[in-house]
Symmetry: C2
Subunit: 519 residues, 2 copies
């Protein structure tokens, strides 16, 4: 295995913009922090990934641990659910980030971003604050950056240069010490409040009364709850029997205080979630099934094994299994912005019977399941593989990005053919002499069978190849003078750069073989 190299996130983002994979949302109005739009190539890439997930998880899931079928059904539920759903799920009470307000500047900060050092001045000892999102390691850099600023007022500058001591978390200070903290945008100490919970759900108002208190609702922070509240509906109307899974994809919203890392932590994002219902004693087996199959799935889409890893949350899981659950793990990808570390792509966790039990208690509707085989009634346990669609797209983009100084494009996107937005391109070598007619016929044949087919008759053939390299199109078919005499075409392979001639009427089969079940 070669030593992993860190790719440039700036270059990847620039290509995403330049080639229409990802745009900043509302860009002409200055953008909106934490929101991203997908351009033509990005929208198709995202659709291909979503469709591949649906095909492999809902329509044709992997065989069960002992062989045989795994029962899966799909669902498509609302973004706005009844507010009681989020009370039952715990999101109203518990889905919070602690925030600190400044009474003087009216600004608000994440409590865990405030780092302090002590200094003496302004009537005694005060604590000076810096802001660092990444924790104590970054705080030191933040102090350095502050010292390079020209706009720090004189009295605070005097404190700054003599501020010393280990960086301490604001949240660790005593009430007396907090009263001596000088806020980042304040002129006098003592303006910061104690940390207070800030709910990460986006609120809205349903109905015509416009009343904020009585008609408040929330945008879902996860698609999972739409599945849990429909558990009885699905059992009653489908033929599914435990063990079985319910899957859905869809938008979710979290009012992240600090969105960052391109589309990795955004406020509007899409999830692909499975809730798999099983007997409590089978939870471990199904946990292992989903953990291993989901990891294999990401691999199958071209994420290299050294950039992908499985991280179990609990090293002692086997010993503690009975009381701590069947397991929890993250499937992680080494993004350029986490390098050499990893960032979460999908979480696989044993949610036990927590959610169904909560909804039973809050709704008064029975959530237990009658197991005919056992003549027994119980609330099923749940294994949840929860993947981020946007994060998946981002991992595919980062993985595909391949600098190559030898090429005209200097870079190519090495997408797995199954998820590549453009499956193939058809070029007439020159835009005359009967070549366009043959090329258009081939393009039409391919379009009827495969998803996105590019047709390009402009510029030099080299420039056309370069465009397709940047778009990640795996195969280019060129119609030239020879085609007109012997019905052969040139196929150019994006990755090997090899060019071979195949029969015109073999192109559909050639592509079908290489795209497999993806069209």
């Amino acid at each position: 295995m070669s030593e992993p190299t860190k790719k440039s996130m700036d270059e990847i983002m620039a290509l995403c913009k330049r080639r229409g994979f990802v745009f900043q949302a509302s860009e002409i109005y200055g953008g909106l922090n934490g929101f991203w739009d997908y351009g033509p190539l990005g929208a198709q890439l995202k659709k291909n990934l979503r469709d591949a997930w649906w095909a492999d998880c809902v329509l044709n899931p992997p065989a069960a641990p002992g062989g045989g079928d795994v029962a899966m059904v799909g669902l498509d539920t609302c973004i706005i659910q009844h507010p009681k759903v989020w009370e039952a799920s715990g999101h109203v009470a518990g889905f919070n980030d602690p925030m600190v307000d400044c009474r003087e500047s009216k600004k608000r900060y994440r409590a865990d971003h405030l780092w302090v050092r002590s200094a003496t001045g302004l009537d005694g000892q005060v604590f000076l604050v810096c802001l660092a999102a990444g924790g104590a390691e970054e705080a030191n850099d933040a102090w350095g950056a502050m010292k390079r600023r020209k706009d720090v007022p004189g009295p605070i500058w005097d404190l700054l240069v003599q501020a010393s001591g280990t960086d301490r978390a604001y949240t660790d200070l005593s009430p007396e010490q907090r009263a001596a903290v000088l806020g980042p945008d304040a002129s006098k100490p003592g303006s910061l409040t104690d940390p207070r919970p800030f709910n990460l759900m986006f609120p809205t108002i349903v109905g015509a009364t416009g009343d904020w208190e009585t008609n408040k609702a929330y945008l879902r922070p996860e698609t999972a709850q739409g599945i849990f509240v429909n558990f009885k509906n699905v059992v009653d109307t489908s033929r599914v029997r435990v063990p079985f899974g319910i899957a859905q994809t869809g938008k979710a919203f979290r009012n992240e205080v600090t969105p960052r890392n391109f589309t990795f932590r955004s406020r509007e994002f899409e999830q692909m979630e499975i809730e798999f219902f099983c007997r409590p004693e089978d939870a471990r087996e199904w946990y292992v099934y989903w953990r291993d199959n989901r990891l294999a799935w990401w691999r199958s889409l071209g994420l290299a094994s050294d950039n992908l890893r499985l991280r179990e949350h609990d090293a002692d899981e086997l010993a503690h299994y009975a009381k701590e659950g069947a397991g929890t793990s993250d499937i992680e990808y080494r993004f350029p912005f986490t390098f050499p570390g990893f960032g979460e792509l999908e979480g696989v966790s044993h949610r036990s019977d927590f959610d169904l039990r909560q909804h039973q208690q809050h709704s008064g509707v029975k959530m237990d399941y009658f197991d005919q085989e056992r003549n027994e009634r119980y609330i099923p346990h749940v294994i949840e593989p929860s993947a981020g669609l946007d994060r998946g797209v981002l991992a595919l983009l980062c993985e595909a990005y391949t600098p190559d100084p030898e090429r005209a494009s200097k870079v190519y996107m090495k997408f797995h053919p199954r998820i590549a937005p453009i499956k193939a391109a058809v070029f007439p070598l020159v835009n005359k002499d009967g070549m366009p007619e043959v090329a258009e016929r081939l393009r039409n044949d391919l379009r009827a069978r495969f998803s996105m087919i590019e047709y390009d008759a402009k510029q030099s053939i080299g420039k056309r190849y370069a465009r397709m390299d940047e778009a990640g199109c795996p195969f280019c078919f060129t119609i030239d003078g020879e085609t007109l005499t012997d019905n052969s075409v040139t196929v150019r392979d994006r990755d090997t750069l090899s060019q071979e001639r195949i029969a015109l009427d073999a192109v559909v089969g050639y592509l079908a073989d290489r795209l497999g079940s993806a069209r």
Copy 2:
């Protein structure tokens, strides 16, 4: 053509619930008015319709008016856009329903639902109010219903029985007359306000300040604006040249005051929208292209010609074309709840350069396009085919619903094979004697190639057919004793009920022929 018959919406809704097409959202918490979830069959039906639209509008659109290609690209933009997007689009100022508040009861009514008759009592002449959503025609029935109520207080009952005169709209009354109106939930006249605009956009708050005024944003009321604000991005990063279209599907939200008619008018819904950019003088030609092709597309999915119609908004369109635009029309379906009338499925309209011009003005970013062929700069005109995905699904459900007293199921869902959620079912006649093994192999072969394949080994074959009839599965393949000796299977056709024997190894081809480009 046979006389159209009105199907029962109650029966259709009951089947949708019973077979898992559509559930009330948040049902275990009493539901949320105007929100619906899709069950396993509904989610797949909706996905099939969305995918068919994408395939036929984005990947492989119909040939241009004079033959040749139509350039189309996809997009996938955020639900939450910058609030200025909605100022520019006119939705902040103009997307309103007039509402009337009652100062006494604190209730709120749609102004156009209030109908009055005059009466004498309570110190002089008053106007009595009834509520009727459907206009003056329904108001008469509403008076009758009020008179059958037992809970009307004595003084108001006295007014009610003598209330007379033509039903008049509350909005037509003079200020003096309004002061004498007795609100529907009030005890004294004069409690109703003048009509005031109520914005139909769902508000939310972006960011950690939680400040309602400075950080207000909206859920998009249409996907179209996400396309307009990305117009320059798409032109700059793709190879598209006017004329070309940008398409996207996605959720949109309207805080309807009176959601109704099942999923027809709901608060959360999904759109499939195209914005097609063209030279102003070509607008008429592209309007006709899209109008006719979109109508043909809905027909191709099985909506019968007598239940589908095109309604031009302006009968004199040709004469007024130059000053009134290239045209606006609705593609309408005869739903059971509109019968014998029609309800909108898709609107095709000439939006001129309104939206791009508005965004240019509000953002300061140039939205003009340089036409190289003509060496000319202009803001393109737009033809917009805007379809409702949920309405499309509802039309397909209503169209498919076919009562048949001769069948065990008494009803079958006659979905076009292309959009049917289950493409085929495989049954072993009995669950032993080697039949399940053959059936499972066939099922696996079909699953690898086609989307949703049902496998069922339980109950009598008649009950299994009945289940598939209600689910709208077009083809059932049964493995029986003969299969084991001569490798033939029975294929049963949902619509004709014919059963024929075909070779086991011909099943994939049989299905591929009948499903066409849909898998």
